[in-house]
């Protein structure tokens, strides 16, 4: 091999990509979108807020995608993959929006690295820099586990996105407007399966109760306000999750009542010194998830995919 042709693959990258069935190059998901930070809002705070919502979507998406090829039947396999894809799309825009608001959130990469901002945030941050709720990160269990997790997650996220549609930040408002349509399907899917498992066999009922018992303590974090969320809600940019509690409870109570399942009485999982996922304090499960999700990208920080 001559020096000019160091790799047989060099010729495949760059230039005309029409030889590919799908585009090969990265695109800016916010190309042409106005990413000006609204007046009176601290760009660093806006970026941190976008990371919270973006990381929720990204980590939940990763857990859902682990279900690919493992669901009870093909339709549910496709459903889980579709929901993972919706959330990945939301994560991509939200992480790109975070980087556009404050490039200071970006982890350092080798000079000339072609990794786009949203990928840098997804693949090159450490666990303590992730700001997702812990419900999104705990390891997968059985099918009842993913049904309960999605019900809790999508009920809170739908309520949040419905309010976020009026955000003063144009990107957040646009992501929310579309996200409401998507997450409506996620919540319905989870609600129907919850009902099916509750009324199914003795075994499905038992598994559903076990999953509900295990995940219920993580529910509180979805409707607890971090100071940053409260501040951005005050600025007309974000949503204070504490204001969602009643609406979220009403939906969950409806599902529980129809299913004949009593509301669990377990308290919330404590944080560490009051700090939780929103502060970067996570369970061990996130580190393992990130190890798998990030390993290839980190091994090739100058790679193009």
């Amino acid at each position: 091999m001559s020096d000019e042709h160091g790799s047989v693959f060099d010729g495949l990258l760059g230039g005309d990509s029409s030889q590919w069935a799908f585009g090969t190059d990265f695109e800016d998901p916010l190309s042409g979108v106005d990413t000006t930070t609204p007046a009176g809002v601290n760009p660093a705070e806006l970026a941190a807020y976008c990371l919270m919502l973006g990381d929720d979507a990204l980590i939940m998406s990763q857990r859902l995608s682990e279900w690919c090829s493992r669901a009870p039947d093909l339709e549910e396999d496709i459903a889980l993959a579709n929901m993972a894809l919706d959330l990945l799309g939301q994560a991509r825009l939200l992480l790109a929006r975070a980087a556009a608001a404050d490039p200071g959130v970006l982890p350092a990469l080798p000079e000339g690295s072609p990794v786009p901002p949203e990928d840098a945030l997804a693949f090159f941050r450490d666990d303590r820099q992730f700001r997702n709720v812990r419900l999104a990160e705990v390891a997968n269990g059985d099918f009842a586990h993913v049904v309960v997790r999605l019900l809790l997650f999508s009920t809170a996220r739908l309520a949040l996105l419905e309010r976020l549609r009026t955000s003063r930040d144009q990107v957040l408002a646009a992501v929310a407007a579309k996200g409401v349509k998507e997450v409506t399907y996620h919540r319905d899917w989870a609600g129907r399966w919850f009902l099916t498992l509750a009324r199914g066999t003795e075994e499905s009922h038992r598994r559903l109760l076990a999953a509900l018992d295990a995940l219920w303590p993580l529910r509180g974090e979805l409707v607890a306000a971090h100071p940053l969320e409260r501040a951005l809600a005050g600025a007309g940019v974000g949503v204070d999750p504490a204001t969602l509690g009643e609406e979220v409870d009403a939906v969950l109570d409806q599902v529980l009542a129809v299913s004949g399942v009593p509301r669990p009485e377990r308290g919330d999982l404590a944080g560490v010194g009051g700090r939780t996922g929103r502060d970067g304090l996570h369970t061990e499960a996130l580190s393992r998830l990130l190890a798998e999700m990030q390993v290839v990208a980190r091994a090739h920080p100058g790679g193009r995919w």
Binding site: G32, N82, D86, A173, K178, R187, W189, G191
Partner: protein, 185 residues
């Protein structure tokens, strides 16, 4: 509203012809996942503008919007627009993303709906208008689409998620054939 009409060219002085041609070329680009539809029929192509650059050449700015946030076909749509416009003689093409307002299945043109039916797929009904919180739906969807093959109204939802983000799976209990339905969003 007719989706074709939205993809009209702006008439920058001296580029009216180029604008018309660019809109025509872009208007013929097809959706990579549902090739019976053009991007214009699908309502994804939001605009085509031509700008005369300082060097005297015409640059095309095409705007597209994703059907779903995670739609993986966006890169292909962008590349297809760029290549077709390049082939038509426009050397400079920029594809921009429009996020607001979000895509709605109501934007699929009449021609697009006919093309879907001709391909054995069910076109979306009107998106329900609602105010207040999104209601939870624990039962099957209130209205099931008629079978695109035999016209029977006796159809059953198999899954609200299909081979692409924008489609649900149904089965006709009359002719027993499965079919894809473009979701109302």
């Amino acid at each position: 509203m007719n989706a074709d009409r939205r993809a009209t060219a702006s008439r920058t002085p001296g580029t009216a012809d180029a604008g018309r041609r660019a809109a025509e070329v872009a208007g013929e680009v097809r959706d990579p996942e549902m090739p019976m539809l053009t991007l214009a029929d699908l309502g994804v192509l939001r605009g085509v503008e031509v700008r005369r650059d300082a060097d005297g050449s015409d640059a095309v700015i095409a705007s597209i919007t994703p059907t779903y946030t995670g739609c993986p076909a966006m890169a292909t749509m962008r590349d297809d627009l760029v290549h077709r416009l390049n082939d038509a003689g426009f050397a400079h093409v920029e594809v921009r993303i429009v996020l607001d307002p979000p895509w709605s299945s109501d934007w699929i043109s009449e021609r697009g709906r006919a093309a879907l039916r001709a391909a054995g797929m069910s076109a979306p009904g009107p998106v329900p208008k609602r105010t207040g919180p999104v209601p939870l739906t624990l039962g099957p969807p209130r209205t099931a689409p008629p079978c695109p093959r035999c016209g029977s109204a006796a159809t059953r939802l198999t899954s609200e998620f299909g081979a692409t983000a924008c489609k649900a799976l149904y089965r006709c209990t009359g002719c027993l054939e499965p079919f894809e339905h473009v979701k109302e969003i």
